[in-house]
């Protein structure tokens, strides 16, 4: 069965980039431009993985992850957090939310699909750091 991935990103072009790349690699992709829309989609579709931008209007990544994790129906969905804030405080704050991986922007389209596959194949939820070499 094709895994379903939800891309949550407020910037249209960045969302389009991820959606196109993931579709290219054969995934079924849904998209949302804020956390509220994302939550709605998680109620309607059996989503396997969420690519979550942390800074968004209306409902940001932190708030969304909190709701997802506290609901038994969505608590098990894997999450890749994406952020363009590069300070260490931000990184620690994101990892503290219990996401599977943290990826700093700009994402590396070449390693990103590998990372997605890796996370989907993984059974445990131990967080680790991935992303572009700086």
């Amino acid at each position: 069965m094709t895994p379903i991935i939800l891309v949550v990103e407020d910037n249209d072009m960045n969302r389009l980039l991820m959606v196109e790349v993931l579709r290219h690699y054969g995934y079924e992709v849904l998209e949302a431009s804020n956390g509220a829309q994302a939550l709605l989609l998680t109620r309607q579709h059996p989503i396997d993985l969420i690519i979550m931008d942390m800074q968004m209007p209306i409902m940001n990544g932190y708030e969304t992850i909190k709701v997802l994790r506290s609901d038994a129906r969505t608590a098990g969905i894997k999450i890749i957090a994406v952020t363009s804030f590069a300070l260490d405080e931000e990184k620690n704050r994101i990892l503290a939310t219990g996401v599977d991986v943290f990826v700093p922007k700009p994402i590396d389209t070449r390693t990103f699909s590998k990372l997605v596959k890796q996370i989907l194949d993984r059974s445990n939820n131990a967080p680790f750091e991935g992303g572009r070499e700086q």
């Binding site: 072009m13 960045n14 980039l17 790349v21 290219h24 363009s84 590069a86 922007k105 389209t109 700086q134």
Partner: protein
């Protein structure tokens, strides 16, 4: 002549008797000493009279000389007293003498003026009476320590004037004994209110600087976010096109995409440099220490720059001291890589075609950092003039601008950042260079400094 000696002795004995009394006493002494003289001739011959007259004159002169001496010594005393008054009472610092119980047994006018009190209201009062309520503890400790150590001791506290005004003083004192052998504490009291005011102003200024620096950090974090978002699109779509995920490109299109990608990546590295230098300045840069494989990092650096070196026709090489292969090296791998990337990048950038850049890792025998590591990055490039070398490591330095302006891109931050990263590891970076002869950057890193349980 024993008679005369006797007379002088008698005069000396009578020196304290004043005025007419003295005169009368003198006459008596003369009479008595004359009568005592057994060999005094009965008649006054001319010879004897002349001799006596001569002696009297000598006496008179002697007396006048003594008189002068006395007057001079009195003037001296007067001068000393004035000097004492000026030095002690009008000194630009307060002097206070305390007895063993902390009571004021002496004070100069300056001190009296400081606390705005008359001498009579100061003397025989405890010094603590003038210390403001909040600083009584400081005073108590100071006095206690003074007794304990029996050595000069200082402290800073606030005194209070009659009207309640407080002011800062600095006290220095020593414990000694007065002429009667009693223990006394001699204290020098300086008014440091102005100094304290400056201190407060400085602290306030520092707070402003801290706030500004914090605002700057927030601004940089936001700017970084705003710049990364469109860069993500530029780099990401270029990569997707270059990888021909959605169909093949012709040669020209491929070149153009590569240009977009390179420019995007360059912008990204600038943003990262600016962010890193601001982290260093805010002292937020920390090391993530781990065992590193330095040989792999060198190899990786050469691989990463091979394309750039090839295009510029620069030979890139590295050598690794074989005795270091099994030596554990603990450092922040990412930052060591950043250091090497910066130096190698510069080495290629400021080189001629047919030039070379080499990385060499050696054991360091320099006594300044024993058991250290030496990483040398040497190039055959344009070199740096002596007068520019010290400016080279300053962020945004003029040199950095002129140095980078002409042919090469860059923020002028790379070397400043490199220096910070080396120093964060407890190391040093040295530069030897001559214009036209190339540059040699030497990084000295302590080896065991961060080794857990070993250094």
């Amino acid at each position: 002549m024993p008679k005369k000696k006797n007379a002088l002795e008698a005069i000396n004995d009578a020196v304290e008797v004043a005025g007419e009394e003295r005169r009368r006493l003198a006459e008596t002494i003369v009479r008595e000493t004359m009568e005592q003289a057994p060999d005094e001739p009965g008649e006054l011959t001319v010879d004897t009279a002349n001799r006596l007259l001569h002696e009297l004159r000598v006496h008179q002169i002697e007396l006048e000389m003594q008189n002068n001496e006395l007057r001079r010594s009195q003037q001296g005393l007067e001068k000393s007293r004035t000097l004492f008054f000026e030095l002690y009472n009008l000194a630009p610092v307060g002097y206070v003498t305390l007895n063993e119980k902390g009571m004021i047994v002496g004070a100069n006018f300056t001190f009296a003026a400081m606390v705005d009190a008359t001498m009579s209201t100061i003397l025989a009062k405890p010094f603590s009476q003038f210390v403001c309520h909040d600083d009584q503890d400081i005073y108590y400790c100071w006095e206690k320590n003074l007794r304990k150590k029996n050595a000069p001791h200082t402290c800073e506290l606030r005194l209070e004037k009659k009207d309640g005004t407080q002011f800062w003083i600095h006290m220095v004192a020593n414990l000694t004994r007065d002429a009667d052998g009693k223990v006394v504490i001699r204290v020098v009291v300086s008014d440091i209110s102005e100094l304290k005011k400056t201190e407060h102003e400085l602290a306030a200024a520092n707070r402003t600087i801290e706030e500004t620096s914090k605002a700057k950090s927030i601004f940089l974090a936001n700017m970084s976010h705003e710049l990364r978002t469109p860069l993500n699109t530029i780099i990401g779509f270029s990569e997707v096109l270059q990888d021909e995920l959605f169909g093949p490109l012709n040669a020209k299109q491929m070149t153009f995409v590569e240009n977009i990608l390179n420019s995007g990546r360059h912008l990204l590295s600038l943003i990262n440099d600016i962010l890193d230098i601001s982290k260093v300045e805010a002292q937020k840069m920390t090391l993530e220490l781990d065992r590193i494989n330095l040989a792999d990092i060198c190899k990786g650096t050469v691989a990463a720059f091979s394309e750039k070196a090839r295009k510029k026709e620069v030979t890139l090489s590295y050598s690794f001291d074989p005795t270091l292969v099994d030596v554990p090296i603990v450092a922040d791998g990412r930052k060591i890589k950043q250091i090497l990337y910066n130096l190698v990048d510069n080495g290629i950038k400021f080189n001629h075609s047919q030039g070379s850049v080499s990385i060499s890792v050696q054991k360091d025998s320099d006594i300044a950092i024993p058991a250290g590591l030496k990483i040398i990055v040497e190039d055959t490039g344009i070199g740096i003039a002596d007068e520019d070398q010290e400016k080279l490591f300053l962020p945004f330095s003029q040199l950095a601008q002129s140095y980078y302006d002409r042919q090469t891109e860059g923020t002028g931050l790379g070397l400043a950042l490199t220096k910070h990263l080396v120093e964060l590891h407890g190391g040093r970076i040295l530069l030897q260079s001559d214009p036209g002869q190339g540059s040699r950057f030497t990084i000295l890193l302590p080896l065991n400094r961060h080794e857990p349980g070993n250094g």
